[in-house]
Symmetry: D2
Subunit: 332 residues, 4 copies
Amino acid sequence: MKIGIIGLGRMGANIARRLMRDHHECVVFDKSADAVKGLEKDGATGAADVPGMIKALPTPRVVWVMLPSGKITEDTIEALAAIMESGDIIIDGGNSFYKDDIRRAETLKGRGLHYVDVGTSGGIWGIDRGYCMMIGGEADIVKHLDPIFKTLAPGIGAIDRTPHRDGHDQRAEHGYIHAGPVGAGHFVKMVHNGIEYGLMQAYAEGFDILRNKASADLPESQRYDLNLADISEVWRRGSVISSWLLDLTASALAKDEKLADFTGFVEDSGEGRWTIEAAIEEAVPAEVLTASLFARFRSRQDHTFGEKMLSAMRQGFGGHLEQGHTPVKKGD
Amino acid sequence: MKIGIIGLGRMGANIARRLMRDHHECVVFDKSADAVKGLEKDGATGAADVPGMIKALPTPRVVWVMLPSGKITEDTIEALAAIMESGDIIIDGGNSFYKDDIRRAETLKGRGLHYVDVGTSGGIWGIDRGYCMMIGGEADIVKHLDPIFKTLAPGIGAIDRTPHRDGHDQRAEHGYIHAGPVGAGHFVKMVHNGIEYGLMQAYAEGFDILRNKASADLPESQRYDLNLADISEVWRRGSVISSWLLDLTASALAKDEKLADFTGFVEDSGEGRWTIEAAIEEAVPAEVLTASLFARFRSRQDHTFGEKMLSAMRQGFGGHLEQGHTPVKKGD
Amino acid sequence: MKIGIIGLGRMGANIARRLMRDHHECVVFDKSADAVKGLEKDGATGAADVPGMIKALPTPRVVWVMLPSGKITEDTIEALAAIMESGDIIIDGGNSFYKDDIRRAETLKGRGLHYVDVGTSGGIWGIDRGYCMMIGGEADIVKHLDPIFKTLAPGIGAIDRTPHRDGHDQRAEHGYIHAGPVGAGHFVKMVHNGIEYGLMQAYAEGFDILRNKASADLPESQRYDLNLADISEVWRRGSVISSWLLDLTASALAKDEKLADFTGFVEDSGEGRWTIEAAIEEAVPAEVLTASLFARFRSRQDHTFGEKMLSAMRQGFGGHLEQGHTPVKKGD
Amino acid sequence: MKIGIIGLGRMGANIARRLMRDHHECVVFDKSADAVKGLEKDGATGAADVPGMIKALPTPRVVWVMLPSGKITEDTIEALAAIMESGDIIIDGGNSFYKDDIRRAETLKGRGLHYVDVGTSGGIWGIDRGYCMMIGGEADIVKHLDPIFKTLAPGIGAIDRTPHRDGHDQRAEHGYIHAGPVGAGHFVKMVHNGIEYGLMQAYAEGFDILRNKASADLPESQRYDLNLADISEVWRRGSVISSWLLDLTASALAKDEKLADFTGFVEDSGEGRWTIEAAIEEAVPAEVLTASLFARFRSRQDHTFGEKMLSAMRQGFGGHLEQGHTPVKKGD
């Protein structure tokens, strides 16, 4: 299939490459001319601008937008809509908010355009490992795009088959699903990321407890100086908590058990926040996913104002003087 | 009543003074001779050591121990037990762990001594406001000590009577209760402190949200620069969340709305921790009380090791580079 | 001042009565003719419909809307806007979302109308205790309405003055504040309610721990059968955690220590949810307020689907068979 | 190696079988004669009682105790200690509390006996997949037992090697580690289980959010009826959150997407609780692990007493009547 790709960052460029390896044709555009040139070397047709890309595509045109969510994605889709024709298809493969998908699809529908949202997981590893895709949109359009998804997905590979899968949609075993109508793809990807935060925080807390078991604040007879690299490695084999995130953790700890290259300033992105808002809208208790988000918020501050209030109250009722020293660098 | 008091810190000294104001006689001892002299000026009989205090008391002797919980309280009670006689009474008015009370009472019982645990709330304000007391021990012994408790308690005062109290134990309305057998007093006080942490954290988070509504990270049209001092003051009048902790908060914010004297390094004490352990033993979910304790743990660290792990994992799967800058000083 | 009031529920009717007691004149309307008649008996002028109310008011007209937040408030404000004249003032005293206030004020401004949002706390007790009010809007309009707010507010009363208040806005000590521009009143009230959830949950968890200390699951030597009514009463006197919510708790427990009239099905309203969303927008960690909201979500379900998943996983890796019996009725 | 095994439940029997498959000799005992007979069929030497087993073992004797933690393990170890001889080795392969290990080893040391604690993960799958083992004890004793551990461990298998492992202890890559002195094995296993709770709860909450996206309480345009079986399957391929727990989840959902065989009554065991206590002792914030434990506590109750208190307070300040109906069966 011949497809246009806008946005040649880490994800977009690798998606183009994986498609071309499987003999799809890519017409690519990025605001960085160097990024376009880089892909041309790998066999893509470079476009100088969005209209140029559109002209180079056969109808019905298919354009995959792979840009940061927010204004730039919004503007790009509007620009595409202005020049694309009835029957053409816009894919948003980024991390848009699913309610934006619903709104956009409604607008585009009025012009005869189709909109497909694809939640794409796989990070920098996807080019070789394949991309796990959660797709929202009209069933026939998603079916039309199947060759693209099949190529990008990991495929069945060496992973053990899940029992009882007979009779279920086979696409899931190949690493992509048609999750539902427009927005459903990004909604499922959003929850995926919410879970990701929770899993990461569970490991983080566990290793924090292991590491602080050597703390001088504990009675000497109850201290252990544990080897975190070996622990993460052993848990990869036969334990209940083996996972890909643990594989990555084991790799980081094998390289440097102290993680001295990191300060512990942790970003969050839209999906983690939207997941909690979805939980609230549905009245679903989601303690763990929320605590994971809040831990990241807290990690980016020196002290909260709330903590000062606690100190002020303690002085108020108990005359407790706050210790003057700076925070303990336990994380080091 | 004539009573011995060991430990003349903030709490012990004021308890002695409140007792003497109501014509009880106090024999006092503290390892600081100056502290003893200070109380002598207020009418107490100073003792040079523990045996000296014991000699100065009529039988059955009553000694109130008001020391930090832990080794010093333990040692003092052992020293008392060694020289006191059958029928004498030891009161632990500090913040001992209730399981230690049970153990101690068992030991003392073998020697004919009585043990009473008194959880005492009121902080530096107690001398005038009175002390709220939660008492554990044998009913007849607690009854024998009633004159002491009556004096120390706040009394009915100007506080509105609770409806439906007729037929209930009147001591509660005077500010003290016989909670149950040995340990029950400290257990109730322990949970009191656990709740205290939760209330404090609820206010702290709320004010944090108010304060950060002025954050430059928000769209300008959605920012408010709120006056926290006025807000805390107005909530004292007719709102659902009025409380003594709010009174103290209003006072701190009226003095300095930025709380610039505080860094936000917040201590915790045994009671908060033991409350969570009690919840776990009882299989009672106690999210709020636990989160309040953990917020204090976190406040005393620069970064957790867990946060570094999050950064390491993010780099592992997404190639995300951690922002190099130091934590945002949002608390300032 | 002569004022129109729309919505004569528990809050609206009592607001009208408190205003009339202080010699303001009220023109009232409610979709229930009985509610209107009830107020007429207390001295109000009843209106048959909204236009009738408007006609009965002098210019610049002041109308206080006291309806459930959402569609009915929205519709009422639109209906008012259609017939009111430049310079008139609409007060929304309900629990609207502050972003709706901002939007509405913008629209009304185009027609020369003023919009004031008043977060009102005080519940069923406000008629006698006074209402704590957090007000958003233009400073001169809020000033113009001062006689209304002064009457409704609790006033200084018998509550101890906060130290350091000299030089601060005196309205706060009377129980009302001008929090900021439009929306600020409801924003502050929203956070008030968020804190309220947190305080309530802190008490709830603490009493749960007290109550389950009698559980037969504990070793017999560690059980206490505590008197919750007396404990709540004693904490009202001199303890750090005394509050109005504790007063209400003491009253409920004095009436029936088992709370047998309640099942534990706990509603939540918009403010609690919006508070968490505000925290997320501001990247403020708010564990306690969120856990309090989630505890309510959970209270309204028999079992979550997530809990079934936990059981399924446990069977998957450990062959653990789920206990077949129905949930333990610990709350009884 | 010839080894005694006490306790032939799911774990103990399979451990014996895996050892015998690799040509170790097992002398086995269980209070159930049938269990012993079952193992005899697989080649083990059955013992009629503990002394009989001891007699059948060459010195220095090695006995692996695989019983539920608590009294039965304690009693068995005492019984062994009474008849074993200097130089003999007792292995506790169950889930004992690590502080009990420290105490026991101290006692046994006085009699010349060695104690080794082995945290064993692998559940019902271990016989084929191998057991992930975390070992505490004296280095030379652990080395002496290496043939046993090597056989039981999963080995390197087909799992990708972690980069940077050169120079680290190779045992970890084979699936077992010598974690440290006595107790360290069970401590690491304890934290493993704490993390396990957190991971499980993260998935549970995420799927709960997915499932309730079909809720009739949401606006119709924002509902999705998502296929949870396909979602869990697709996430196994190339997504960031792939894991063994997800494999098990996918299997359960493929079998029955509604999980109708489960009620959602979720047990917890000692390790999850001890992990939180360790976090508290170390002052490590562990929100996610704690919330996961509390979710299980809550799952086993109909309503908490705390929830009734919330309802009572709401009635107190707002006159809110609790909805009379029974909890919504959202989990169904």
